[in-house]
Symmetry: C2
């Protein structure tokens, strides 16, 4: 498990930390303080928050105080934040629907900061493939090394599965089935849920988020994009019942425009592999199956990934493997034989792994590994356009753009009632 081994980043002595300018970090609520912040805190020799942007300066100052960010300056102006030379990496973690309007001017203003090297944006990057492409191009022209939070690629389960597949432990893949259940697009809406996650076009929905993350992981594990896809998208629950914090119905009903079910089927480019996929909202009553199941069948074995929640990128998973040993290893006790072809089985589960934090933490770790060249990879480029299906590195805005094109085709296939050829979406713009 070479690719799963602990990063050696903490052993780099006396290196200057990467200075982080953060947009969207609040000590009071939200994703960033739960995930990015603990990752940065744990990697304090490698990352240091030096700037916070918030039009509400009081809020930024409060966050600095509460989180004891002694090296951070609060900026109420995007221009001054983006121009500050004390920032090596900008992290953007706000509502997806606002990304475009922040990023385009940000990238322009940032030309005044000669030290800026990294731009880290949350998936889904933008609300449409057109916006995503414009952002991608602006960041490329600005010469930044980009990072997208398709953090499931750093999940130990996904990497272990990818390793087993790439080393031939299940032979040739011949069939894949995925079923996911994300309860939050269902019959009931918790009172405290923000309404934008139920409005189509806000960049957060079953197709873009739940399916997007998961299908990215499938492509990453198998090392293949799709050649043909078909989809059917449903909004069978156009009205949700509001429930209070105790799960009791309030009697209030609210409209929902995002889909609650996606049927997707397609063919992987590599090996013409059939992939069947059903993603649903609704009530996860599922008593006889987990909320996330990914079955990958091969000519020599099977892989199964299971999770309690339908979101592969933030769930702690269990990986089951059954098949034959692909490589020759010397057998123990001085025997001369080798055990290639032997039937083996493996259950891989880290009982206390917090996937919500853990995958983001490992993404930060891989940024540090890249920055300090900790793994001493020969001929490491100073920049790379996309991670693609490499074990090392991290997903970039190009990876995000390719995924956006797939999501766009999923929506188009449903509208057109056609099976679409998507062979070309993995090419550069």
């Amino acid at each position: 498990m070479d690719y799963n081994k602990r990063s050696s980043v903490s052993t780099v002595p006396n290196a200057a930390p990467i200075r982080v300018g953060f947009i969207g970090l609040s000590s009071f609520k939200g994703w960033a303080v739960k995930t990015h912040y603990p990752a940065i805190l744990q990697l304090s020799s490698q990352f240091q928050i030096t700037a916070l942007y918030n039009p509400d300066i009081e809020s930024a100052l409060n966050t600095i105080q509460h989180l004891k960010l002694s090296n951070a300056t609060a900026f109420p102006s995007l221009e001054s934040f983006a121009s500050s030379a004390d920032v090596d990496m900008i992290v953007l973690s706000i509502q997806v629907a606002q990304n475009y309007d922040v990023l385009i001017p940000l990238l322009e203003y940032s030309k005044k900061n000669p030290n800026l090297k990294y731009l880290f944006v949350e998936w889904a990057l933008a609300c449409s493939v057109q916006q995503a492409e414009t952002i991608y191009k602006a960041a490329a022209q600005r010469g930044l090394q980009t990072i997208i939070s398709l953090q499931g690629r750093k999940s130990p389960y996904i990497l272990r599965a990818k390793e087993l597949i790439s080393e031939g432990y299940i032979g040739d893949i011949n069939s894949i089935e995925i079923a996911g259940n994300g309860g939050w697009y269902g019959y009931e809406r918790p009172q405290k849920s923000p309404s934008y996650i139920f409005e189509l076009g806000k960049g957060v929905d079953l197709v873009t988020t739940a399916f997007g993350h998961t299908i990215d992981l499938l492509q990453y594990m198998t090392g293949s994009y799709f050649s043909r896809i078909n989809s059917m998208i449903f909004n069978n629950i156009p009205e949700q019942e509001v429930i209070d914090e105790h799960g009791v119905r309030t009697g209030q009903k609210v409209p929902k425009t995002v889909p609650d079910h996606l049927l997707f089927q397609g063919t992987l480019l590599k090996g013409n592999v059939p992939v069947s996929c059903s993603f649903k909202g609704g009530k996860p009553t599922k008593k006889f199956t987990k909320n996330l199941v990914i079955d990958i069948h091969g000519t020599k074995g099977d892989l199964k990934l299971e999770g309690d929640a339908g979101f592969a990128e933030i769930s702690n998973l269990v990986l089951y493997y059954s098949g034959v040993r692909a490589n020759d290893y010397p057998v123990a006790n001085g025997q001369a034989g080798y055990d290639a072809g032997k039937e083996i089985m493996e259950v891989y589960h880290l009982r206390n792994y917090n996937a919500v934090n853990g995958n983001i933490f490992r993404l930060y770790q891989s940024i540090a590994d890249f920055h300090y060249n900790t793994k001493q990879i020969p001929n490491l480029p100073s920049q790379f356009i996309m991670q693609g299906f490499e074990f090392e590195g991290f997903p970039t805005l190009m990876d995000a753009l390719i995924l956006h094109r797939l999501v766009d085709n999923v929506y188009r296939s449903n509208i057109l009632g056609s099976t679409l050829d998507v062979t070309n979406i993995c090419h550069y713009p």
Copy 2:
């Protein structure tokens, strides 16, 4: 479980048995002697074989002798067989590819037999929807009550699931996933397998047979046809390796033209329910899942059907149910309360049920129930065109024709690369 209760047909006294003229019964090999024959033997007061058609008269006489069919006459001529007034029901159990050429003249000749009332044909009836329609019309014009061997509709598991669904035990269905694995379309071909089952157009293939039976059962259980469908059909194994009776490779390779994988997704007319379906050949290495899994999710509960083989109509299954009690039943011990809404769970499995025989046996039983009106259904019609989604009765050539139209659209969707509207295929010709 009203619909699952034992037929009371054996209590009918002194009724004349239905006289059966059989095409395709051989004492030496084949499906008929393993399934139809024991059913008729067990129901000997209701059915009696009186005629066998076989152009090879010696073979027919041998079968009569070996099976001790003391009332049967051997006919080497189709015309004399079809004209014989000693036959009330003709059963056709031969290779599907030969059905059309036998049935069309048979139905014409049979006009000389005033007693003929029933025609029982094996699924898939014919090799194409056009042939199926011609046969359907000829049988309808001849005025026969037809039966098709979609015998899974008589499976106790399917009927129990249908009952639970129709009585509201899982609420409204909101999602269905099906995965089936039929090993025989895979990498290896047993030496003794007839080659016609690997040739496209012979009426026996993954789509027509494995998927056809299973999707018929899904429609039957849910009480709904499809409105939209999409499919992708694969022949990823165009060449098979021949294995001998010990499973050892002979080194011989043979071409295969039938598909080895079907991706199917669609929407049920009733409730706009998304259905995801993956049917595969290949090696059933599947360690972490059964070869047949049907998951039916509802707003109030879940049903799961599992089988060891990917063929729902001939597999002994296990039915899992979890949900809430739909109806009010008086609670035991004289309590005044009722227990509607109570959470319940059920595992339904008949350990010694032989599904290969059993479902065919129950199909014969239902023919007898109809013929003798054993269940004393008021206003029983003397004939019916189709079973549709009724519990009672049995599937007919009209049910078969509708299923053929679906299979035809599955093949067309793949060729056209389109999602197809199939709302109208359940209508009469």
